[in-house]
């Protein structure tokens, strides 16, 4: 070929030069038409080559885009699935609330998956099929019977008892790529026939017949538009619309149109109609939700109706198709009349073209739009929690895996708890007077199991940005005191009744300065028992104790309990660590107190339970991990003191809110100049840490008790609370202790508190008090407490 061309060229060149020399030699006997023909032929050849190359290039681009888009699915993030079993602490209204959040329809007979029916004391639930991390579960019908604010029994359709069932978990968000397109992919065969019919009827009647471009439609549209004097109809096929959506720019030039036509023809030639329709259903732009674009019928169905597309009826499916022509124009929440008109037009078209019969169409036209109220904002319903999810997955997964491969991520999020925490923070902050607009953060975990149930990153729960719960680091303040005293008790020299120095102290610091710590009220005084120094949060005893055992020990303990990002181990700690001069995040504090509540077992807090790939194959499971980091007896003593804090110490104001019968444990914290207000506390099964402060670090004028505790108690009030159960530990016995002096006492001798103490500890008896350690209990309220506490130990 090459030789031929060169030969031709040479031949050409020879002929050319022959012609030229002829022209030069002779008269002006040139043959312009012959040259022109050659030039034209050359140009035509070039044009043809260029066109062929262009088509190849377009073909490659089309295929590349198509294949890439097919797999562009952000990871789906799910909340924890509600478990149903006899004894579950869930009452009927509570379960109905959760069903509604999942978009379950309340019907008369619960005939279809995704519905329920209610009677006086029981619910009939028809669960949706779902692929959990441990395998697929089919749809199931069950009857749930309630008694005493719990599930009393669970029965299958055959009447037999069901041991355990799960509701499908709530979808709480996606991990989006930078272009912020969100999708719920419809799989093969998941496109409802009625939806397909509506699409064909209104957008592309001859979809299954044409070859990618429908010339008759174009001509018809041109005619209609010409007659009307304006653009009434588009002539684009679904294939052309699919092509258009591959490109961001919306230029309307002839060149673009031409490329679009070529691309549509290529696509149609390369892929079958079903595949194209499927891709279209997942690609079509249907609306905007804040910064999130809604693409595909799957996601639009959730966005508008809160339910999967398979559960929609005719009037709802046609509304989805109505959006195709104008996602903003026909947005049903903003323009309900226009949306209804367009929906009904589509129904008419379907009727005219024989997809539905007249009664069906008329019935559908009479239906209201049926969309849910304002949907949750943004790409996540709970952006602060999603931050923690992302952080936990960052180590094991590349960003592309998380944003493109359709992974399914199962978390421990409890959406009901999360909403309650958000509301409590907002309401409490609104009610507080302060010099500047306050901010706050909350982390809620279970006391066992190490799972993070809720994360609130700021006053505005929907805000996507700086996450104060995870990323703000503030001085821990008095929240460190339990850690300090734990280290002291473990060192062997201390117990709850030990007398601690409360004298003023001046410490020389390097550089000639002097540190003079003070108590909150500026006083100093005689020695105090440890449990009071902790429950009343007195500073001087803490400093003395830290100096005695060494500040490095305190830092080490803090690290062991869980503050592993913020604390350097073993060296370089200052005495001021005794007063919490160490910056920590709310999440770290939650980790530390979780270890205490767990009796000294460190369980790394996790938000993600399991990761599964798009086909349901498990990729990773984050199981329960434990590390024994504190002595059980020491932890018990500290927890007992934290209970005392809430009964008679700095946290006692909660008793008004939570009632006298609920026993909780906690610690207030206030940093220098009232810049940070902290509270960390737990019940039997819930732990919550709250921080309140100003972003610019200005003083708030709030203490831990007046600020963060307010938020905490508001939140705890929304939950059904169970009293803290302190597990007995070997080597400890309950003793009555005089509240002022920490000496052994007896209820008959004055104000006492019952505390767990080492059996072999020698504790002085209160002078003048007949301490009868083994005497039979005196009848009365106090002895009832004694008996109740002793019962605990016997178990």
């Amino acid at each position: 070929m090459a030789t031929k061309r060169t030969g031709k060229k040479r031949g050409h060149a020879a002929k050319k030069s022959a012609r030229k020399s002829k022209a030069r030699r002779g008269a002006k006997r040139a043959q312009p038409s012959f040259t022109l023909k050659r030039i034209l032929a050359g140009v035509a050849l070039l044009a043809l080559t260029a066109s062929i190359l262009a088509v190849f290039w377009i073909d490659r681009a089309v295929v590349r885009e198509f294949e890439a888009r097919r797999y562009d699915t952000p990871a789906r993030v799910f909340a924890q699935a509600v478990e149903l079993y006899a004894g579950a602490p869930l009452d009927q209204p509570g379960l109905v609330d959760r069903l509604r959040r999942l978009g379950y329809a309340q019907t008369a007979a619960a005939a279809l998956p995704g519905s329920f029916s209610a009677s006086n004391d029981s619910l009939q639930i028809h669960t949706r099929p779902f692929v959990f991390w441990d395998g697929p579960r089919p749809a199931e019908r069950m009857r749930v019977v309630f008694a005493d604010a719990r599930i009393d029994g669970l029965y299958g359709s055959d009447g037999g008892a069901i041991a355990l069932a799960r509701l499908d978990p709530q979808l709480v968000g996606s991990l989006l790529a930078a272009n912020r397109e969100d999708r719920i992919l419809l799989g093969n065969g998941e496109l409802p026939p009625a939806l397909r019919d509506a699409l064909l009827a209104s957008e592309d009647r001859r979809f299954f017949e044409h070859a990618g471009v429908d010339w008759t439609a174009i001509l018809r549209a041109a005619w209609v538009n010409f007659r009307a004097g304006e653009i009434r109809q588009g002539g684009s096929t679904l294939t052309q619309q699919l092509v258009k959506s591959f490109f961001l720019s919306n230029e309307r030039t002839y060149r673009r149109k031409a490329v679009e036509v070529v691309m549509a023809l290529i696509l149609d030639a390369r892929y079958d109609k079903a595949t194209l329709l499927h891709a279209y259903s997942n690609e079509v732009y249907l609306g905007q939700d804040g910064s999130r674009s809604i693409h595909g019928f799957g996601l639009a169905s959730h966005f508008l109706f809160g339910r999967p597309v398979s559960e929609l009826e005719l009037h709802q499916l046609t509304l989805l198709v109505a959006l195709v022509r104008g996602p903003s124009l026909y947005a049903p929440r903003r323009h309900p009349e226009r949306a209804t008109e367009r929906r009904n037009l589509i129904l008419r078209l379907m009727m005219e073209q024989g997809f539905v019969d007249k009664p069906q169409a008329l019935r559908a036209m009479e239906q209201p739009l049926d969309v849910t109220g304002t949907p949750a904002r943004g790409s996540s319903y709970f952006p602060a929690y999603m931050d923690l999810v992302r952080e936990q997955l960052r180590q094991g997964y590349a960003p592309q895996q998380l944003t493109r491969e359709g992974l399914r991520i199962f978390t421990a999020l409890d959406p009901v708890l999360q909403s309650a925490a958000e509301r409590s923070l907002a309401a409490a902050l609104d009610g507080m007077e302060a010099s500047a607009p306050l901010q706050g953060a909350v982390v809620v975990t279970g006391t066992d199991g190490g799972e993070v149930l809720a994360v609130v990153g700021g006053r505005d729960g929907a805000y996507v940005g700086f996450n104060r719960a995870l990323d703000a680091r503030r001085p821990m303040g008095s929240l460190i005191k339990p850690v300090l005293y734990l280290a002291a008790i473990e060192s062997g020299g201390y117990h709850l009744a030990s007398a601690l120095d409360n004298a003023s102290i001046a410490l020389p610091l390097p550089g000639g300065r002097v540190w003079e710590p003070h108590n909150f009220d500026g006083t100093s005084g005689p020695p105090l028992p440890l449990f009071r120094a902790l429950s009343e949060s007195i500073n001087l005893p803490a400093v003395h104790t830290a100096l005695d055992i060494g500040p490095d020990r305190v830092a080490e303990k803090l690290w062991q309990l869980g503050a592993r990002q913020s604390v350097k181990r073993r060296t370089g700690a200052y005495p001021s660590i005794a007063l919490g001069a160490v910056d920590v995040s709310v999440l770290e504090v939650a980790q530390v107190y979780n270890t205490l509540a767990n009796g000294g077992f460190y369980t790394p807090l996790r938000a993600v339970r399991a990761v599964v790939d798009a086909n349901g194959m498990p990729l990773e499971r984050f199981g329960l991990q434990l590390e024994a980091v504190a002595d059980g007896g020491a932890a018990l003593q500290i927890n007992a003191a934290l209970v005392t804090t809430m009964q008679s110490g700095t946290g006692k104001s909660v008793r008004a809110r939570l009632g006298e019968h609920t026993v909780v444990a906690g610690k207030t914290g206030t940093s220098n100049d009232f810049r940070d207000s902290w509270f960390a506390g737990f019940s039997d099964d819930l732990l919550a840490v709250v921080w309140v402060g100003n972003d610019d670090n200005r003083s708030t004028g709030l203490t831990g008790a007046s600020g963060a505790l307010n938020v905490w108690s508001r939140f705890m009030q929304t939950q059904s609370l169970h009293s803290v159960q302190l597990l007995p530990a070997a080597g400890l016995a309950m003793r009555w202790i005089d509240t002022s002096t920490g000496q052994l006492s007896d209820p008959a001798c004055g104000a006492v508190v019952e505390l767990p103490l080492p059996r072999e500890a020698s504790i002085a008896a209160l002078p003048g008090c007949d301490v009868r350690a083994d005497a039979p209990p005196r009848e009365g309220v106090a002895s009832r407490t004694l008996r109740w506490l002793k019962d605990r130990f016997r178990r």
Binding site: E83, Y85, A86, G87, A88, W133, D134, A161, A163, L164, G446, T447, D448, G449, G599, F601, A610, R621, G623, L624, Q625, L626, E627, A628, G632, Q647, S648, R655, E660, H661, T662, V663, D685, S723, Q725, L727, P728, A729, A730, P747, A748, G750, A751, V752, G780, V781, A782, R784, T785, W788, D791, R794, R795
Partner: protein, 142 residues
């Protein structure tokens, strides 16, 4: 008069009782009812373990632990699964947790210490294994 005096004295004791005991005790906790749900999960976990699906068994036990959070037998089961999986550190920690929850049942505590002994032995800590074995013996004897 005596009746008035008695009433006054009793009232004084009552007030004193209130003074010494500022908080009324909570009502006694509900009795522990063995759960069908946990039973079925445990059965499934054991089957999984026998079939060699250890991680699946662990997942099942952890799911049961979300229902019965402070169950020593469940922690012990998980400890045994981790032992089989070769995770000796976790096996020991989980057994310690089981022991801390089982203070009422000497047999269970003994089993926990036995598992700890096995984990230590498997990880090469023979001295520690012996210690744990002796501790198990102590509880078995009680």
């Amino acid at each position: 008069m005596t009746r008035l005096l008695s009433v006054t004295i009793v009232a004084c004791f009552g007030l004193a009782a209130c003074a010494t005991d500022p908080v009324a005790p909570p009502p006694p906790p509900q009795p522990h009812v063995p759960s069908m749900a946990v039973g079925s999960l445990l059965d499934a976990a054991r089957s999984a373990r026998e079939a060699g699906d250890l991680e699946g068994a662990a997942a099942g036990v952890e799911r049961a632990l979300r229902i019965e959070r402070r169950s020593a037998p469940l922690f012990l089961e998980l400890a045994r699964i981790r032992l089989e999986q070769g995770d000796f550190g976790q096996s020991e920690a989980l057994s310690l947790k089981a022991a801390s929850l089982a203070s009422g049942s000497h047999a269970l505590v003994a089993e926990a210490w036995t598992t700890i002994s096995q984990a230590r032995e498997a990880s090469g800590d023979s001295a520690g294994a012996l210690e744990a074995w002796q501790k198990a013996d102590e509880f078995r004897a009680r």
